[in-house]
């Protein structure tokens, strides 16, 4: 037993050595690939920001009593806020086609329209300057390339100070009204 062992051992060590080397090399190749992958990931990840200097999606627009009757355009947020007595709603001014700011356009004469079987009378529309998309007063698209109606955003009243809060992160249906 001992004899055979000692006889075989040099051969085996050579073999061992080789297999150890092969193993080490495999680990080496594996680590270099993983390491390079990690380095690449780090480089690309650095370009995905974790912190933004953009304005918050939720913001206050003032006390209900301070908002004028009819339409108010909040320019820096491109938002049309409507006040009809005690009810409020907000329509986005960003065209749903390619994001240009649509213009509030007063009609010379009230117009009768029908949206989803509902008859309405409107006296203004939204017109997009970029590619001629047109929207009814409720935001429904009726002309041009715009694929969908203008977005409506949720309005709420702050429980702290009674100011109206717009949440650009939350879209609502066209029948949304906030009554104060």
């Amino acid at each position: 037993m001992n004899e055979s062992d000692s006889a075989q051992s040099p051969k085996e060590t050579e073999k061992d050595k080789n297999s150890r080397r092969a193993f080490l090399q495999k680990i080496g190749v594996g680590s270099v690939l993983l390491g390079a992958g990690a380095t690449g990931f780090q480089s690309v990840r650095a370009l995905i920001p974790d912190i933004l200097y953009e304005a918050s999606e939720r913001f206050k627009i003032g006390h209900p009593a301070q908002i004028s009757e009819g339409v108010t355009f909040i320019e820096d947020r491109r938002l049309y806020v409507f006040k009809e007595g005690k009810t409020f709603y907000a329509i986005s001014g960003a065209c749903t086609h390619l994001g240009c700011t649509v213009k509030y356009t007063k009609l010379n004469q009230p117009k009768d329209i029908e949206v989803d079987g509902l008859k309405k009378k409107i006296n203004f529309e939204f017109h997009c300057p970029c590619h001629g998309s047109k929207f009814y007063a409720d935001g429904t698209n009726f002309a041009g390339p715009a694929p969908r109606p203008l977005r409506w955003y949720k309005l709420e009243q702050s429980p702290d100070d009674g100011q109206l809060i717009v949440d650009l992160g939350e879209e609502v249906e066209q029948n949304f009204r906030l009554t104060v």
């Binding site: 270099v32 390491g35 380095t39 780090q42 480089s43 990840r45 650095a46 370009l47 995905i48 920001p49 974790d50 912190i51």
Partner: protein, 441 residues
């Protein structure tokens, strides 16, 4: 199954040049792959050895590549404006994922590159590798001069990058550094004005340094590097190859079977027997692919790993935002200029009523002299061809000692200036603590 085979075929087609199966393929690889094209087919073992070149040139290039990659990402994150520069660097440090790493790697590579390029020059001098050897058409002195320009460009690259974080360290290092330029007679002030785009370091200076740092100097270095590499081939490879061929015994080249095209057709025969000195290929050379390539990858990998490791151990500092009304104590130029600052501290000369500013001697006279000497030296060097490509050739003893002397002085003064000078430029041993600088609270 078939798909796997196909994939393997395509894979082999793509990588065979990197992993040739035979000597013939190895030769073909050099010709067929644009990236390998500028390497010789066969390379002498001496050129390949670690302890001749220490691969310092390769390391410099790897560092340059690391700097390019990290620099390009940092360009997306950094804003070169006086108002935003500091806060964008703060953002890189704190809220950009891995931003601190990119910045730290970029900084450490820049410092390393200055050091490695310098060491590369030392190696070339001590091995006499700027000397022409045996090969025809070689003009190594030109490549030496290109190398000096590359060293200076590296210093400038590092120096221009120094200002960008717009902290106290940056602001005052550049103030001190650029005031050296203004000590040159007659044109000094104008040069500084042009360099900074004004009398003080402000938005103009920042954008100038930025554009130099991210565009002009890197492009300059890239082109000079390409020329530097091309010249190595033109000059017959590393100087050690010349040395090797000199030391070969002339032997008869074996007759080679040849074909001669004549009007009468092809004549078969053997070539003329020539008595020639040639590197014994069998004995002394190996194929560039894969042996040289493997070494280059190894150096690349090791340099990258070492850089990242050092970047973790020595993270990049960011001091208070630049404040032109408060000079930190001490205010130091970047470390690679500190040997000059150290030498010039006591060299403001007074000859009668003429005072020569120390900055003029240390910042203009001394470096100009050194550069001129370096440029001139290859043409002046009296030693023979045999001393090219050998470490510490006995024929070049004296000049090597002189060169080492200069380098040691530079290194010692750099170390003193960097580590042993404290507030008011007073001398402090490493075990002595500096007086604490006052704070608000």
């Amino acid at each position: 199954m078939q798909f796997a085979e196909q994939a393997k075929k395509i894979y082999n087609k793509l990588v065979w040049t990197w992993n040739p199966g035979s000597e013939k393929e190895s030769g073909d690889a050099i010709v067929k792959n644009i990236l390998l094209h500028w390497f010789p087919n066969k390379i002498s073992k001496g050129s390949l050895s670690w302890n001749y070149s220490f691969y310092l040139g390769t390391v410099s290039f790897v560092l340059f590549s690391i700097l390019t990659v990290t620099g390009m990402i940092l360009m997306f994150l950094y804003v070169p404006s006086v108002e935003r520069a500091y806060s964008s660097v703060k953002d890189i440090e704190f809220v950009v994922a891995f931003g601190w790493l990119l910045r730290s790697v970029h900084r450490i590579s820049a410092h390393l590159m200055v050091a490695v390029v310098f060491l590369h020059m030392v190696r070339v001098f001590l091995t006499g590798a700027y000397k022409n050897g045996t090969s025809v058409g070689s003009n190594r002195p030109v490549n030496w001069i290109v190398g000096i320009v590359l060293l200076l460009s590296t210093l400038l690259l590092s120096f221009t990058g120094y200002l960008l974080p717009w902290d106290q360290l940056a602001y005052w290092a550049i103030t001190v550094g650029t005031n050296i330029a203004s000590s040159a007679p007659v044109v000094g002030e104008k040069i500084r004005f042009f360099l900074l785009g004004g009398n003080t370091i402000n938005q103009n200076a920042l954008i100038r340094f930025y554009v130099l740092h991210v565009f002009f100097l890197p492009v300059l270095v890239l082109f000079l590097f390409l020329y530097h590499m091309w010249r190595i081939r033109k000059d017959g490879g590393l100087a050690i190859a010349d040395h090797e061929s000199l030391n070969q015994k002339p032997e008869k080249a074996l007759p080679v079977k040849s074909k001669t095209y004549s009007l009468l057709g092809i004549t078969n025969g053997t070539s003329v027997h020539v008595q020639t000195t040639m590197v014994n290929e069998e004995e002394n050379t190996v194929s560039s692919v894969p042996h040289l390539i493997r070494r280059l990858w190894l150096v690349t990998l090791a340099t990258t790993a070492a850089t990242i490791l050092l970047a973790i151990l020595f993270t990049a500092p960011l001091e208070e935002a630049a404040n032109p009304s408060v000079t930190p104590n001490p205010a130091k130029a970047p470390w690679y200029f500190l040997w000059l600052q150290e030498i010039v501290t006591d060299t403001t000369l007074k000859l009668g009523f003429i005072t020569i500013n120390g900055a003029f001697i240390g910042g203009i006279v001394l470096p100009t002299l050194l550069i001129a000497l370096a440029v001139w030296w290859p043409y002046r060097d009296p030693s023979g061809t045999g001393s090219a490509g050998v470490w510490f050739s006995s024929e070049r003893k004296k000049q090597n000692y002189a060169f080492i002397g200069i380098c040691v002085v530079i290194i010692i003064f750099t170390v003193i200036g960097t580590f042993l000078r404290g507030p008011y430029w007073n001398f402090y041993w490493p075990w002595e603590s500096w007086p604490t600088m006052p704070v608000k609270f």
